[in-house]
């Protein structure tokens, strides 16, 4: 099928206003990259040099800030905390929400409609409002100061993934399921070998949106991870940016190290990622 934009020269004759808007877009977009470059550039300078001679010619470029961050301040310890939280939450979230969605979409049972609405409730209730009871609960089972607490809470927010996946599974033709059953596959094997792999575009979309939220989350770790040893990267960044006079160098190094690699990954896979975001948005 021909796309509208193939036959319609929509990018022609846009006029003067559109020209101004375009210029503004160029400025705004460049600004974002310039700021990141500026941050990266300064992260190779010594603290005194940055604070005392911010816009002057740099005295020298050095990797000292990074060496200090990685070897003296154990950057990778905190990085590992963040990675464990991300991977564990994501695996749990995806598994649990696709089970639930499949159960809701594939089977007819009494109370199905109620259950669908039940799982939607979470969309209206931001997790932080229930944080006091959750804190009490986790205190009783001694999970405060344990990254498991952040993992469980992050994985429990399944409303949106369940909604998206239910929609997907419900639209799958019944024949696919029936064919698998005729081949002798049980309910679980059908799910794992046939149905779940088919949902991978939706799962990808869920993974993208959820991983950004989980990786950058601030509120949950702030409340549940009080000890230095189990802090995550965003909390470590705050530790350095709190007192810029004494830790400007480390603040620059950690901001660069925790931002630039992810953005490079994003730029490489931007087409797939943005498609995933749009797919999720259209469903939502």
């Amino acid at each position: 099928m021909k796309r509208m934009t193939d036959i319609m020269p929509m990018n022609k004759h846009q006029g003067f206003t559109a020209g101004i808007v375009k210029v503004l877009l160029w400025i705004y977009s460049s600004f974002t990259f310039l700021m990141l470059l500026y941050m990266t550039y300064n992260s190779f300078r010594e603290r005194k040099d940055i604070l005392g001679n911010t816009f002057g010619k740099p005295a020298k470029f050095t990797l000292d800030n990074y060496i200090k961050l990685i070897f003296e301040d154990n950057f990778f310890h905190y990085f590992l905390n963040s990675v464990i939280i991300l991977v564990a939450s994501l695996v749990l979230l995806v598994m649990i929400s696709s089970f639930t969605a499949y159960g809701l979409a594939r089977y007819k049972f009494k109370g199905r409609k109620f259950m669908r609405i039940f799982f939607l409730i979470g969309l209206m209730f931001p997790a932080q409002l229930g944080i006091v009871p959750i804190f009490q609960l986790l205190k009783q089972i001694h999970l405060i100061n344990n990254i498991a607490s952040v993992i469980i809470i992050s994985a429990a927010g399944i409303s949106m993934p369940v909604f998206m996946l239910t929609d997907f599974f419900a639209k799958l033709p019944k024949e696919i399921y029936e064919a698998a059953v005729i081949d002798g596959a049980g309910e679980w094997r059908t799910f794992f070998q046939v149905m779940f792999p088919m949902a991978s575009p939706v799962v990808f979309s869920v993974c993208i949106t959820s991983s950004v939220t989980i990786w950058n989350q601030f509120f949950l770790p702030l409340i549940f991870l009080q000890q230095d040893a189990n802090k995550t990267i965003p909390l470590l960044v705050v530790k350095y940016t709190k007192n810029l006079f004494s830790t400007m160098d480390l603040a620059l190094a950690i901001s660069t190290l925790s931002t630039v690699p992810i953005l490079i990954l994003f730029i490489i896979f931007s087409n797939q990622i943005l498609d995933g975001v749009t797919a999720g948005a259209v469903k939502g």
Partner: protein
């Protein structure tokens, strides 16, 4: 046992999600409601006070003034987002949808701050707006406007607007993607015929595109509302637990955090004798503010589907 589940395989599929979701999403809402009826700080004696906490919240001049201040800021963020960000997002989306030159670059650049964590965003703005090392002041100096140089982040009146600017820079790409998604669903013959009839670039946006994405606009206004009422990180990082100088960046969730978890930290420090009671009370008030609006959204969407 096996036979029971064999007949009802859905129970096994639903169980893990149901259990986790019920314990960590649904139960806390009701638990917060019931805890708000007690005077308690988690350690001492738990005393039932009925709606005492609510009455105290709305009559104590100290608490009330903190709440009004925080609520005013949360609503300021919402109104600015709805009136300024959403139109900008629509225009950005329309430009990209119309395949202007550089659209891939725009899309990536505008969306990328979404991947940056809040503390780093605040830090980047410090590099920009700081009084001594900030780029903005340097630029003002260079173009001869040095007398307007200010420690921008330290001006109390600007606080909440700076929070809004940071939120916007970080999040404007998400809404833009929503609109691009919605625009891609527009039937192409309507745009085509408008084009044939000579409708210009902006006329097509106003008369053809906007009416077809109005549900997305409505959705995004409501999402912005929920988001504005729950945003916490920026104010905490900029102004600490107290919400800045005289609470100049204080917002509702931070007010809640301060009451529930004390002035220093959740595990000790300056916790009041009623931290949990008052904390959950504020959470419930905030919850109803969100719920009332969310309900309106549901009704509108529901009615739309009935049509």
């Amino acid at each position: 046992m096996k036979k029971f589940f064999g007949k009802r395989p859905y129970l096994l599929f639903l169980a893990p999600g149901f259990i986790l979701y019920t314990i960590f999403v649904v139960y806390p809402i009701f638990a917060a409601g019931s805890l708000s009826l007690f005077r308690w700080n988690g350690i001492g004696e738990k005393v039932f006070v009925g709606f005492g906490n609510y009455i105290e919240l709305f009559t104590s001049s100290n608490l009330m003034s903190q709440m009004v201040n925080a609520l005013k800021h949360s609503l300021t963020i919402f109104i600015l987002t709805a009136l300024i960000n959403i139109p900008i997002q629509i225009i950005m989306a329309y430009m990209i949808y119309s395949k202007v030159k550089g659209k891939n670059f725009f899309q990536v650049a505008i969306f990328s701050p979404q991947f940056i964590s809040t503390p780093v965003i605040v830090f980047i703005f410090t590099l920009l707006f700081d009084g001594n090392i900030g780029v903005v002041n340097k630029i003002l100096e260079l173009i001869g406007l040095g007398k307007y140089a200010r420690p921008w982040l330290g001006i109390p009146e600007f606080g909440i607007y700076i929070v809004w600017i940071m939120i916007s820079w970080a999040g404007i790409g998400v809404g833009m993607m929503y609109f691009i998604g919605a625009m891609k669903m527009i039937a192409f013959d309507s745009l085509e015929s408008a084009y044939m009839e000579g409708a210009g670039f902006w006329k097509r946006l106003i008369y053809i595109v906007l009416p077809q994405i109005k549900m997305t606009v409505l959705n995004l206004v409501l999402i912005s509302y929920v988001f504005s009422m729950t945003i916490f990180d920026y104010s905490y990082i900029l102004g600490g637990t107290s919400g800045g100088v005289n609470g100049n960046v204080d917002v509702m969730p931070l007010f809640f955090y301060r009451m529930a978890f004390g002035d220093t930290n959740p595990l000790g420090g300056n916790i009041s004798s009623n931290s949990i009671g008052m904390g959950t009370t504020i959470a419930c008030v905030l919850f109803f503010m969100i719920f009332a609006i969310a309900l309106i959204q549901l009704l509108i969407v529901y009615r739309k589907e009935e049509d």
